[in-house]
């Protein structure tokens, strides 16, 4: 019953999730078990890239959930993503131990440079993986809860909400740039050594992270599916389409928005936490408002309002980005900018909508 609700009614989702599962199984095998000379060999670079894309897909999912379904445009999801990343980064930093440049057993290199004597209180506990992961969920979740409570309660909606979320991520960026914050300032956190005892430079660890990302993506997708196919999901859609009608039907619109926002923020944070060990660095630049808007474009390109559309968008836009920034970096911003305009003007339902229209046309003929 539940499986039918979550998967069988969602053909596009099944295809996309199948592909994700395929990547998770085939790519590590081709990377680890096939010798580098073989034409089937998948390079480490590709593994890293795919891992990154899976994180972005999870992030896009979180944006789609809140924007595509509830119609709340958040330009601050980069903040939750980055906070999650910092949570993981702090755990990874603590794992370095005395292997840093200055060899201090407890303090991070940047703290030694700043002449700090002791570890700040908010770094305590991050040497334990479970605690760090708890914080990865709780800190962004709590921020979303407080921020969302304030915003939704006073019925800040639409453009205003978009602008203040953008201000939020901008404020966080400025704050994290400061050395006194104790998060490595401009340089952020980097030089990670290992995770749960596995060396981050080992191929097998990278493959493991890829698999972990794929699993989290699938779980995240199913969770989102569970929400949008439940009655709560229908309430959320009706809030998007006719907010006051929903309110006069007896729903407390604010709390629906709020909990969806919190869940979405946590999803974004998980994506961030998976992203950091795979790229090996997290810095305040990730808070940049541009990043948050880019996520929205992934979703818009893929097709908002369909969960697998978000995944399609994240993969295709990021693939294009990798392609163009490698071969002709000059043109990438033109293309990204053009994409913003084209998608909003000509493809309001994104690639998925376009494909759907083509399929239907094909059926008729």
């Amino acid at each position: 019953m539940l499986i039918q609700r979550l998967l069988l009614n969602d053909r596009g989702g099944m295809v996309v999730l199948g592909l994700v599962a395929l990547i998770a199984i085939v790519v590590p095998v081709l990377n680890l078990a096939v010798p580098p000379e073989s034409p089937l060999y998948v390079s480490n670079f590709t593994v890293g890239l795919l891992g990154k894309f899976l994180c972005f897909a999870l992030l896009a999912l979180s944006v789609d959930l809140i924007w595509g379904y509830a119609g709340i445009l958040s330009l601050g999801h980069g903040a939750f993503f980055t906070l999650g990343g910092y949570g993981m980064g702090m755990y990874l930093m603590r794992q370095i131990g005395d292997r840093g440049v200055y060899g201090h057993p407890e303090l991070m290199d940047f703290m030694v440079v700043l002449n700090w004597e002791t570890l700040p209180w908010y770094w305590q506990g991050f040497d334990m993986f479970w605690f760090a992961m708890l914080m990865v969920l709780l800190v962004p979740g709590l921020l979303a809860l407080v921020f969302g409570w304030l915003a939704f309660r006073s019925r800040v909606t639409g453009v205003y909400f978009a602008i203040i979320t953008q201000a939020l991520t901008y404020a966080l960026m400025l704050a994290f740039f400061r050395n006194e914050m104790g998060f490595g300032g401009n340089n952020g956190l980097n030089d990670f050594k290992d995770i749960l005892g596995f060396s981050l430079s080992a191929d097998s660890t990278r493959a493991g992270l890829l698999i972990a990302s794929a699993i989290m993506l699938i779980l995240g997708y199913l969770a989102c599916r569970y929400i949008v196919t439940s009655r709560m999901g229908r309430v959320i859609i009706s809030i998007r389409d006719a907010e006051s009608r929903t309110r006069f039907s007896g729903y407390q619109v604010e709390s629906y928005k709020l909990w969806l926002f919190v869940f979405s923020a946590m999803l974004a944070a998980v994506a961030g936490a998976l992203y950091v060990p795979q790229v090996g660095i997290i810095n305040p630049g990730e808070f940049s408002p541009l990043n948050s808007i880019e996520m929205v474009v992934w979703v818009a390109t893929g097709g908002r309002g369909t969960l697998f559309g978000a995944l399609v968008g994240a993969f295709s836009v990021n693939y294009a980005k990798t392609f163009f920034t490698t071969f002709s970096p000059e043109t990438w911003l033109f293309i990204l900018g053009g994409l913003f305009v084209m998608v909003t003007l000509f493809m309001p339902k994104g690639l998925v909508g376009l494909a759907g229209r083509l399929l239907r046309k094909g059926d008729k003929e």
């Binding site: 445009l73 400061r178 911003l333």
Partner: protein, 556 residues
Amino acid sequence: MNTPCRAITWQSLRVCCAWLLLLCSLGFNASLHAQTNAADPNDGTVESAQPNEFETLVHQLVQGNLPNRIKTVSKLAVYDDERLPAIFTALAAGDLQADRNDPPTVAIRDGDVATDALTGEMLATTEGLRRVPVHNALRTQLRGLIAQLSLNNADAQVRYDAVRRMIYDGIDEGTVEMLRARQEVEESTLVLEAIETARALFQLNSEDPSVRLEAVQQLSGSLERQARNELADIAANDAAPQLRAEAQQALQSIEGRISFYRFVENLFFGLSLGSVLLLAAIGLAITFGVMGVINMAHGELIMLGAYTTWGVQVLFPSLIEWSLLIAIPAAFVITGLVGILIERGVIRFLYGRPLETLLATFGLSLVLQQAVRTLFSPLNRSVSSPDWISGTLVINPVLSITYTRLYILIFGLMVFFALLLVMKRTSLGLKVRAVSQNRAMARAVGVRSSWVDALTFGLGSGVAGIAGVALSQITNVGPNLGQAYIIDSFMVVVFGGVGNLWGTLVSAMSLGLINNFLEPYAGAMLAKVMVLIMLILFIQKRPKGLFPQKGRAAAD
């Protein structure tokens, strides 16, 4: 159908005229400056064909031996010649050079180049030039003479600087005599005050305790650092208890005055920052506030305005003094046209879908940024400042104001009121307000709403361009210029209340002030963060800003 169109054209003509007027008034201002600058050297220049006594003396100065030079210097000192201070200063600094010809070429060396000390022309070659030797006695003599000369300069600012330099170097018998002489003829209160401070400082070293007491009282309230140091020294160490107490009191009064002027300075800087925010946000107040269009490319339009300034300076290198005045209408037209293009090409398809507009214009902002990067360069361009806006207005030793900031403050207010007039008093403004309140109704009474949309957007964009011209004077002109301002601008508009120009003014100024008063306590970054957080909280409390639109229409 023809009438509204013609009316709008008339309207734009009228707006153009207003700008021309504005331009003229600014231009007049600038030409005044140019005239005074040009006039100064003319007064002193004597026909160079016939070497007069002064020039002969200068020639003698660089020939002969040191004792002779001292005499020549004394002789030269009685001449009231414009070129003299520069020659003396160069001589004292060892920058005066001459060759062995007769009459010799006398040159002032500045790095690799040399200019003729008498004609002021740049010399083609520095070959054969040798340093004119000086020794300490001569240097002391020169310093005194230079001080004397600048003390009698026609420009009060130069006199004031001279007195302050004396205070800084320490006052002795000779200088105090000079100051006393000047005091009798001095008219500027600023200079007079400085002279009094200088004399009082000298009296502090007197033997007579009553003279010293008087000096301490005299120094009470003086803002000179030297005076403060001396008083602090007396208050801490002096033997005479009464003097100590007096000095203490004087110090206190000084502290009070200083903190007052610091406050004034903060106030000014805050307002100046506010005027920058106002300039950046006011175009947005029109496109966002009046039309309800979220234009994320607004920052890039500002950037285009700044690049226009740069372009004007590159195209007309000889007109640097006029460049800003040329750039203002140029930037208005260029960014205005770009704005109209954006409206016709993209935004008009997206009315009523604000979130989509936001995304599309953000895409445009990326394209514009990259276009500038590709066309010009990713590096910052250097935009020079005309002389008439560089420099500092020194009000007293604690409080000084840069002309750039002062002009931007004035300029920001001028743009604001011009725009207010356009919106409130012209038929374009009337139509804009009509369309923004009820599009269908406005159309029904014959307003061509699509035209009004395009023109309004063009107006907002053009104002962004003008802001860019102003910003080019205080920040780096590069492809990222716009990004730095876009969030701030939105905050200003939202804080002030959408659709309310006065609200934008108040909010820009208050944000500038809050930011500036927080900065000393929290540091620049944290102050900004705090302002952002305060704003976020404020929007929760009053979602419609400081001055919300009221009434039944706003409730929907």
